[in-house]
């Protein structure tokens, strides 16, 4: 049952920013977002399995987060901004109902 964790796709609208600039992040991850409301062909409810939490940390500080419900589409898409304060790692984390995590990283240079 172990499938490799999907690799998220992340786009920052700038890699080099001036302090105080807004940086736009667009992120996608492959995930079925099984709502828990669908039935299989034998009429049994397919158990819920969704990404229920998403966070974006820059240099370890949370700049944006979201709690997701089954009404978020499959392959959840997140677009948001953060204010550039310092150079460092941009870490995006998707948390599955089963506790597993999908992590994606990028880098920002702030001058």
């Amino acid at each position: 049952m172990s499938t490799p964790a999907p690799r998220p796709r992340i786009r920052l609208d700038k890699k080099d920013a001036k302090k105080g600039d807004l940086v736009e992040v667009k992120a996608l991850v492959s995930h079925i977002m099984e709502s828990g409301q669908r039935k299989d062909k034998d009429g049994n409810l397919i158990p819920r399995k969704i990404i229920n939490k998403f966070t974006c940390e820059v240099n370890g500080k949370v700049v944006f987060a979201c709690d997701l419900e089954p009404a978020v589409s499959a392959n959840p898409y997140m677009q948001f901004k953060f204010r550039a304060e310092e150079s460092g790692k941009v870490v995006l984390t998707w948390i599955d109902d089963d506790g597993s995590k999908i992590v994606g990283e990028d880098q920002i240079t702030v001058s």
């Binding site: 796709r9 786009r11 667009k26 996608l28 898409y77």
Partner: protein, 541 residues
């Protein structure tokens, strides 16, 4: 045919149709919604084209005699024949068929000869599909023929029913831009096609933005274009216009496949558009409609018209304009030889089959109008008879030429009303409640008072079913008195009825192609004579 040529040429000459007092430094030439009609056709305009909300009773929602009167078009004139259904059969005998891409070519060349480097030719889309040869060649016949016209740009709608891969393949070979600012790759909303282009004509920098049908993935099968998303995208359009202006464009043109009422609303909300060349709803207007500073031009369909708009552009402003909606009378305009040869080459492998007679009609067969036309009645009758159904549903397409009384129905005539990439004639059970829901849903796509919620097209055509529609009501309460005509009994909400239809947007729909259903029916009936008697009662219009 030859029998009308002498009459038509007595009444009007090519020079009359092309006569124009030129003005200014730019000439826009617009064709749209040709629907792959390479050859001249008969085309009867609608009797009923209801407007709602702010569009109620105003152009293009004025038809027939009222239309001719409001524009002071003399009865019996070539333009009256082309624009209205009044005396259609008699005037058809006088003026003959309309359209034919070889005639369109002659007109375009004549304008270019007169206006030289001032001319911009723009194709509004719905060009590559809805004839047999366009279906058989996946649009290649149209692409090759249109290439001879050398358009400066095009936009699209039915083109997308060829699927993503084929559209991309053609666009890569096109040689001119395929403009769709409102089509984006679904995942990150990247542009799929160019949104705009800039050309210089008569010393004027002209920005042209293309707008595909915003509701393509709803009106047509989404599974054929799974990675593209559409929408009106007003904000992005405004940004595109602003970018063109900032880049020095002195004239900005929207080549639009939004539909007339959508463009009327959009013209009042997006600034900086000098001209909108509108398409999709197949309206033809003898004059541009001015919304604020924007000129709205509607050029009809099926190659029936070529629009010429002369503009005097100075210091980034349109100082003067002159317009003519040129009716393409096939017996009056002489065909262009090179175009005629290319058309003939593409038709040759199919010509014999297309000319085969499959039946005859004693009455005029036409489709245009908000509700069933006689051509739709024939299709619905065929669905009920050949698919053994109680009720038929046939899509409210605005494409499909007309046939005259006493005329043979050829295979080509049937293909011209049905040729498309998802033709399966399904047969399935639907409850009365589901049928009402479908009618309500489609009615709201046409009669919602907010044009941005309209998709163009007409009401789904029905066979075996009568109903009342109050177009002024909101969704859920327009449709009533649903009755099965065979029994005269009201439909029961929870009872199943056998329904046959075609052009389902759902993937995997099964059944014979609709044209085979119609061929089989005509083969049995030999002659049809639909009267146009309607089972739909319209109120609140």
């Amino acid at each position: 045919g030859g029998w009308t040529r002498a009459f038509a040429q007595q009444r009007v000459s090519e020079a009359d149709l092309l006569a124009f007092q030129p003005v200014g430094n730019v000439t826009l030439v617009h064709v749209t919604d040709i629907h792959a009609q390479l050859m001249p056709v008969w085309f009867r305009e609608p009797t009923v084209n209801l407007g709602v909300g702010e569009a109620k009773g105003v152009p293009p929602h004025v038809t027939g005699k009222a239309l001719l009167e409001s524009y002071k078009i003399p009865a019996g004139s070539p333009l009256a024949y082309a624009l209205a259904d009044v005396d259609f059969e008699a005037l058809a005998k006088t003026y003959g068929r309309v359209g034919g891409l070889d005639r369109v070519a002659t007109i375009v060349q004549a304008i270019r000869a007169e206006r030289g480097d001032r001319v911009v030719l723009l194709d509004g889309g719905d060009t590559w599909q809805n004839s047999w040869t366009s279906l058989a060649t996946k649009g290649q016949d149209m692409v090759d023929c249109m290439a001879l016209l050398k358009p400066d740009a095009m936009t699209a709608h039915w083109e997308f029913t060829l699927g993503e891969a084929r559209v991309k393949e053609i666009v890569d070979s096109l040689g001119f831009p395929f403009l769709c600012q409102n089509v984006r790759e679904s995942e990150f909303q990247d542009e799929v096609f160019k949104g705009s282009t800039v050309v210089e004509r008569g010393g004027v920098k002209i920005g042209i933005v293309g707008q595909a049908l915003p509701y393509t993935p709803i009106a047509n099968p989404r599974w054929m274009i799974p990675n593209w998303s559409f929408g009106i995208r007003e904000k992005e359009l405004q940004a595109e216009v602003d970018k063109l202006r900032a880049g020095g464009a002195q004239l900005v043109v929207l080549l639009s496949h939004n539909g007339f009422d959508v463009d009327r609303k959009l013209a009042g909300r997006v600034s900086g558009l000098d001209v909108i060349l509108t398409g999709h709803t197949h309206d033809a207007l003898p004059e541009p409609l001015k919304i604020g500073k924007t000129l709205l031009v509607a050029s009809g369909s099926h190659g029936k018209f070529v629009s010429r708009l002369d503009l005097d552009v100075r210091d980034g402003t349109v100082r003067d304009f002159r317009y003519r909606l040129i009716p393409v009378l096939a017996d009056v305009i002489k065909p262009d030889a090179a175009m005629a040869a290319t058309i003939a080459r593409h038709r040759a492998p199919h010509a014999k089959m297309l000319a085969e007679e499959v039946g005859r009609t004693e009455t005029t067969l036409y489709r245009r109008g908000n509700f069933n036309g006689t051509l739709d009645d024939v299709i619905c009758e065929a669905l009920i008879a050949e698919r053994d159904a109680e009720i038929a549903l046939s899509p409210g397409f605005r494409w499909g030429p007309s046939l005259l009384p006493g005329q043979a129905i050829t295979r080509e005539d049937v293909y011209n009303a049905t040729a498309m990439t998802y033709p399966a004639a399904y047969r399935m059970a639907m409850t009365g409640a589901r049928l009402k829901e479908i009618l309500e849903d489609v009615a709201d796509n046409i009669f919602n008072p907010d044009p941005y919620l309209q998709q163009g097209g007409d009401m789904v055509r029905v066979g075996g079913l009568a109903y009342t529609i109050d177009v002024g009501k909101p969704i859920g309460s327009r449709i009533g008195d649903l009755t099965l005509t065979r029994t005269g009994q009201p439909l029961a909400a929870d009872k199943d009825y056998t329904v046959a239809g075609w052009a389902s947007v759902n993937e995997g729909t099964e059944g014979p192609a609709i044209w085979d259903v119609v061929f089989a029916h005509l083969g049995r009936k030999k002659t049809v004579a639909p009267t146009g008697a309607s089972t739909v009662k319209i109120v609140g219009a």
